[in-house]
């Protein structure tokens, strides 16, 4: 399977994808992190849903990761798009037949692809984290935020936990994208359905029937990213997310294993 991972990484490191992802992730990270510091005195708020995070709050150990946390959900959506397109394009380009001739074990192909994309997502998350911290330090002085507590072990622990949570969340979004890619076999359809569902349909459903937010996949992936507490506990979201991924992934894997490769 290691051969599949290496081959997949060769595809993922192509400049158009790698630099494109870095640009998008870097842009989103810079935007969300800088808003927190640059709009610290704005009456419209400087965080999610118009919330205000004061300079005093930012001076706490958690201030180090506020920007990173905000961008977490969007990293999940980027991950969904990458996993979906990389999976579905094998069908649309017709390259799946080449892969299967060279590696007939379909489960190894699937697992190798997932591991390679996990590594790609990890790099993306670490880059976003590093950039967010650098921007936070750069803008803290201007926003009169004291950064003394950002170097403490408490801040480091929060940073580690937050990075792990965002990584787990991106994996869930990514696996969701991969499942859509396998089922729909078209990059555009898989991305469109995934983004539409996660960013629009779930929000409409959640607004119409409040109780659904505890059970919908996107809300739970998002809850994992923020460490729990948005609508339900972290453990609940983890269990629900795993449930979705095991059932959805299992079905997609069975289909992938049995379906004729006729294009």
């Amino acid at each position: 399977m290691i051969r599949v991972v290496i081959a997949e990484l060769r595809k993922l490191r192509r400049p158009s994808l790698l630099l494109g992802t870095i640009a998008i992730v870097g842009g989103l990270t810079a935007l969300f992190t800088s808003i927190i510091f640059l709009m610290i005195d704005s009456e419209n708020g400087n965080s999610e849903r118009g919330e205000r995070i004061s300079a005093a709050e930012l001076s706490n150990p958690a201030g180090l990761i506020n920007g990173f946390q905000l961008v977490g959900v969007f990293l999940g959506i980027v991950s969904l798009c990458i996993f979906a397109s990389q999976t579905a394009q094998e069908y649309s380009l017709g390259t799946l037949r080449n892969l299967l001739v060279r590696q007939p074990s379909r489960m190894k192909i699937l697992a190798g692809k997932f591991i390679a994309m996990k590594l790609f997502a990890l790099v993306m998350v670490l880059f976003a984290g590093a950039l967010s911290i650098a921007i936070s330090y750069a803008l803290a002085g201007r926003a009169k935020v004291d950064t003394t507590s950002w170097g403490t072990s408490a801040a480091m622990q929060l940073l580690f936990e937050n990075t792990l949570n965002i990584f787990i969340s991106t994996l869930c979004y990514g696996a969701f994208g991969m499942i859509l890619g396998l089922l729909l076999r078209s990059p555009i359809s898989a991305i469109a359905v995934g983004v539409l569902w996660s960013l629009i349909l779930e929000n409409i459903l959640g607004a119409l029937v409040k109780s659904t937010v505890k059970w919908l996949p996107g809300f739970n992936f998002q809850n994992l990213s923020s460490g729990g507490g948005l609508n339900s506990s972290y453990k609940h979201s983890l269990a629900i997310s795993l449930g979705y991924l095991i059932i959805g992934g299992g079905l997609a894997a069975i289909l992938f294993k049995r379906r004729d490769v006729a294009n």
Partner: protein
């Protein structure tokens, strides 16, 4: 027949109520070049996909290099294939595309440059696949098929989009491989090409195998014709009439008479022309080409 590299017994694939391949029986001897011909939609690509483990048969069995097609992992490391044209990642270079497949199959990366040289793509190996012409894409597909140094090479329309010199190169590659003992199973629409290189043929029509065996056996089983060309074209109709009177059916094609008769009738025809005061500029006996035989057997229109 010699030991078979491919052997199909009642191989069947059904989609809904349509049989893409119905009870296909054929063998491809080891070390041979075997052509795979049939009109569009006759089941060639479906058969190739089953042999490569990409689709599962609805019935029957087949073996490739002595292993059942239900275990493609046992024989695919020794099989090179290009199915339905070259499919690669457009944003990767030709070289990177080959490296992806080399890494996947566990082949040495050094082989990539050797193969790019072999298919005359060494100078464009670093260019993105999407910038390649159709002929270059086809050559990259052939290079990919050669990655495993295959014992069996399966090529689906390998000369599509190639210019005459490219076609000649592919023919050379195929012959070189056959000389080293590689079995080549090749489908093509250019039947004159197949006739030149294939010792064996498998012919399909509407999902059924209508011939499987030596090319020579197929062609020698066809009726020969005599082509007679009078010195003066004005004599064509007179000679045609005389021949019909003597029981020889014929037709006028490009200033010559195509007469349905074999070698034994050539003297009589020559004499008949002489007695009618017609001088023949040439008289030759020819066997139908593979193309003519194909059209005859498949009922396809030229």
């Amino acid at each position: 027949m010699e030991k078979a590299a491919i052997s199909a017994t009642d191989l069947t694939k059904i989609y809904g109520d349509r049989a893409a391949l119905s009870h296909g029986n054929f063998e491809v001897p080891e070390g041979s070049i075997c052509g795979f011909v049939g009109p569009n939609g006759s089941g060639k690509t479906t058969t190739i996909r089953m042999l490569l483990g990409l689709i599962s048969p609805s019935g029957g069995t087949a073996t490739v290099l002595g292993e059942s097609i239900s275990h493609p992992e046992k024989y695919l490391p020794n099989v090179g294939a290009m199915i339905e044209g070259p499919a690669f990642y457009p944003a990767l270079s030709g070289r990177e595309n080959l490296k992806v497949l080399a890494e996947l199959g566990g082949f040495p990366l050094s082989r990539v440059n050797q193969l790019l040289e072999k298919v005359d793509l060494a100078d464009r190996g670093g260019s993105k696949f999407k910038t390649y012409s159709l002929g270059m894409k086809q050559r990259l597909g052939i290079a990919a098929a050669l990655l495993p140094n295959p014992k069996l090479l399966i090529l689906d329309e390998p000369t599509n989009g190639l210019d005459p010199s490219g076609i000649q190169e592919v023919r050379g590659i195929i012959r070189d491989l056959a000389d080293t003992g590689t079995t080549v199973f090749v489908s093509s629409h250019i039947l004159s090409e197949l006739e030149m290189i294939c010792e064996y043929l498998v012919m399909l029509r509407e999902g059924k195998v209508i011939f499987s065996g030596r090319t020579q056996e197929l062609l020698s089983g066809q009726k020969p014709i005599i082509i007679a060309k009078p010195e003066y074209e004005v004599d064509l109709n007179t000679l045609a009439k005389k021949l019909i009177e003597s029981g020889f059916t014929n037709s006028i094609v490009n200033g010559s008479l195509h007469i349905d008769a074999g070698q034994e009738a050539s003297a009589a025809i020559n004499r008949m022309a002489f007695e009618a005061g017609i001088t023949l500029a040439s008289i030759t006996v020819v066997l139908p080409t593979l193309e003519e035989t194909f059209f005859e057997m498949t009922g396809e229109n030229k």
